[in-house]
């Protein structure tokens, strides 16, 4: 749910990075944080366990620039990927405007990817959203690993409707900003549609 503030001439949108445990959601945000001009970003918050697994969420506020005199701000969140944190994932999806589904390209994680995508669809549904209608992009992360699955196979399993998708290696930053730009673009287009 975007927030348009005419008083401060700002628009705020919420983007959630979703995906199975250890797929690289936090790494995406860390890369964005490290590569963004300090004037355009706020503090990154990570609510993580002692072993640096996301416990509740990571949060990164980002300013993208102005559209028609309105400052556009995106609040990026990750969810905890581990299966047993489902209650937390549901909470973080509240008020979402756009979703990035980060898939782990390793062959042995394919089942976890499918399970997480099903979980995303179900949790969005519980919040009154439809995965097929909300702005969503898919990122195939860890493409650099030797055990990466065949890309066409991943597309068939995880992106049958051919929504925008990107290959990535989040540790090196490959595909990270392309993914972010695509989801942000989708969210702004939705906003345009809603305003009509």
């Amino acid at each position: 749910m975007s927030f348009i503030n005419y008083s401060s001439r700002e628009i705020n949108c919420k983007i959630v990075y979703y995906g199975p445990g250890l797929c690289g959601k936090t790494t995406n945000l860390q890369y964005i944080y490290n590569k963004t001009n300090p004037d355009l970003k706020g503090k990154m918050i990570s609510l993580a366990t002692e072993t640096e697994r996301t416990l509740f969420f990571d949060f990164l506020p980002l300013a993208l620039g102005q559209i028609r005199g309105f400052k556009t701000r995106f609040h990026l969140y990750t969810v905890p990927g581990q299966v047993f944190y489902d209650a937390s994932r549901k909470l973080i999806l509240k008020g979402v405007d756009g979703v990035v589904f980060v898939a782990d390209s390793q062959v042995e994680r394919m089942e976890a990817n499918i399970e997480s995508l099903d979980n995303l669809r179900q949790n969005l549904g519980e919040q009154g959203y439809d995965l097929d209608k909300i702005s969503c992009v898919v990122q195939y992360n860890k493409r650099d690993l030797p055990n990466a699955a065949d890309l066409d196979e991943m597309k068939r399993l995880l992106n049958p409707k051919a929504i925008p998708d990107f290959e990535a290696c989040a540790t090196l930053g490959k595909g990270v900003f392309e993914t972010l730009k695509a989801v942000a673009r989708g969210v702004l287009r939705d906003l345009k549609q809603m305003s009509r």
Partner: protein, 161 residues
């Protein structure tokens, strides 16, 4: 259907700010913050200039969301009032009308009793303002915003740098 978009005009903002500023005085608070349940800061007042309000808003929303989840597990609808006691500063957090979060930061110059009392009044005033905002939104006053006019080029220009 999920939450509708929150559109706040200058007149709404001024009303909210007036309630926020009055609460700072009435409750002897260090700072008062109004936050949307989804983690967006709406208004702030008090002497706490310079703190990271974006993070404050996001974490407050996370806190309310987590305890709301806990409430449902034990069979409650919500835990609408939270109090966090620190060594110097304390936080009083109230969920208003199920949608807006009112955060009051106070120290030894005030007391929990006073804050509770003042928050009650301010909370009902804020609830009325947000009810009006919701009505406007339901009547479609949000339609025809500048965003109806944005072009794909405008959007692409954001990413051209």
């Amino acid at each position: 259907m999920h939450d509708t978009q929150l559109v706040m005009y200058d007149e709404d903002f001024r009303k909210i700010l007036a309630v926020t500023q009055r609460l700072v005085k009435d409750a002897n608070a260090k700072g008062v913050f109004v936050v949307d349940r989804n983690g967006q800061l709406i208004s702030e007042a008090g002497e706490m200039r310079g703190i990271d309000t974006t993070s404050l808003a996001s974490l407050t929303a996370g806190c309310i969301a987590a305890t709301g989840g806990l409430a449902k597990i034990v069979g409650e609808e919500e835990f609408p009032v939270h109090f966090h006691q620190g060594q110097r500063d304390n936080l009083h957090i109230t969920l208003i009308a199920g949608r807006i979060i009112l955060v009051v930061v106070f120290d030894e110059r005030s007391s929990l009793g006073l804050v509770r009392l003042r928050v009650k009044k301010a909370g009902s005033q804020l609830a009325r303002v947000f009810e009006e905002i919701q009505k406007k939104s339901d009547q479609g006053r949000g339609a025809g915003t500048p965003f109806a006019e944005i072009t794909d080029e405008d959007i692409d220009n954001l990413f051209s740098v």
